[in-house]
């Protein structure tokens, strides 16, 4: 049911020809009006349109290229030649 039809029905329920029915069944009248007003409110409530957020494109990170470390070339240490104690 669209807004125009709901408003037409609400107007009809409040009109003079329906007076006798309203007086005979006040609880039915109130329930009907409440139901239609709830439907109207639902239709009139602004609908939040959520725009789709752009997906974050994560740029691929370049793999860290680890440069091969040059092997430490340990220079051969010259053997320490212990000084010979001078014999007395």
């Amino acid at each position: 049911m669209d807004k125009q039809e709901i408003k037409r029905q609400l107007d009809f329920l409040g009109s003079e020809p329906v007076k006798e029915w309203r007086e005979k069944f006040p609880e039915k009248y109130e329930a009907d009006v409440a139901r239609l007003e709830a439907q109207l409110e639902k239709l009139e409530k602004p609908v939040k349109v959520e725009l789709p957020t752009e997906p974050k494109v994560e740029l691929p990170t370049e793999p860290k290229v680890e440069l091969p470390t040059e092997p430490k070339v340990e220079l051969p240490t010259e053997p320490k030649v212990a000084e010979k104690k001078k014999s007395k």
Binding site: Q9, F12, L13, P17, V18, K28
Partner: protein
């Protein structure tokens, strides 16, 4: 005969008591409710005054339709236009009479019921709705006449799906043959969309859009149609052919004392 437009099914005569006596009024006064009292035996009692209240059905509505059928239309046609026209007009009159009665009954139903969300179109609601509605009239001595439910064609999907998935034999029968028209002991009558209306129908201000009707058959309401549908054909000055008119004088009433045998259902 020509092919005629599709018509909605008629239900009023299946759910009402029908009167064709030709009376303009059907009087049915009722007594004020009387209650008995229980007390320790004493030999005395209290007396209240019995009063009667008038209640009557008045044949107040005239449903009519008319057309003029020119002579050349009838002569140059290969079909029986006159017969087709009478049949079509008669059907339209009957449909509007039916709509009037169904809406009058729903307007004046003594009880109300709101369905679970989704109404009849949700198959899972059907068992609960039928159970709830049966409970509304169970225990009344008039319940032996059997229960009826009037729905619109858009509600049928729920009944078929519920039927196909409920029980074993019942589900098999529904799967093989479709919906048989009885659910939980309730006779379900289907009319087309738009029968339940919020609009003026004759002198009735119907307030029933989005509603359906449940109740005990033939007990709560009477539908009077003296002479049923009548028709007339007449020659009209300055025109060839004939004017055809079809009409029915009808009235309906939900009896005050029996109104609680009817339930107006609000679809949620």
């Amino acid at each position: 005969m020509l092919d005629l437009s599709l018509k909605t099914a008629l239900v009023a005569e299946k759910i009402c008591r029908v009167d064709r006596s030709g009376a303009r009024y059907i009087s049915n006064p009722y007594l004020t409710a009387i209650t008995a009292t229980a007390a320790a035996i004493a030999g005395t009692y209290t007396v209240s005054t019995a009063t009667t209240t008038d209640d009557k059905l008045t044949v107040s509505e005239q449903i009519a339709a008319g057309v003029h059928l020119f002579e050349f239309e009838e002569t140059l046609s290969r079909a029986d236009l006159f017969g087709s026209m009478i049949a079509d007009l008669g059907a339209e009159v009957a449909l509007l009479a039916d709509k009037y009665v169904v809406n009058l009954m729903t307007n004046n139903a003594g009880q109300t019921y709101s369905t679970p969300a989704g109404g009849f179109t949700t198959p899972g609601n059907i068992n609960q709705i039928i159970g709830d509605l049966s409970g509304k009239v169970a225990g009344f001595s008039d319940a032996y006449k059997g229960m009826f439910l009037v729905v619109e064609n858009t509600d049928v999907t729920g009944f078929i799906q519920a039927g196909m998935s409920n029980g074993f034999n019942f589900a098999d029968a529904t799967l093989n043959n479709g919906f048989a028209g009885v659910f939980g002991g309730v006779e379900v009558y289907v009319v087309r969309s738009g029968v339940f209306a919020t609009a003026t129908i004759g002198t009735l201000s119907a307030t029933n859009s989005g509603k359906r009707l449940f109740g005990i058959k033939e007990m709560a309401a009477t539908y009077a149609a003296p002479k049923g549908i009548q028709y007339d054909e007449k020659k009209v000055t300055l025109k060839t052919g004939r004017e055809i008119s079809v009409w029915a004088n009808i009235g309906a009433k939900v009896w005050t004392q029996k109104a609680n045998l009817l339930v107006a259902i609000t679809l949620v």
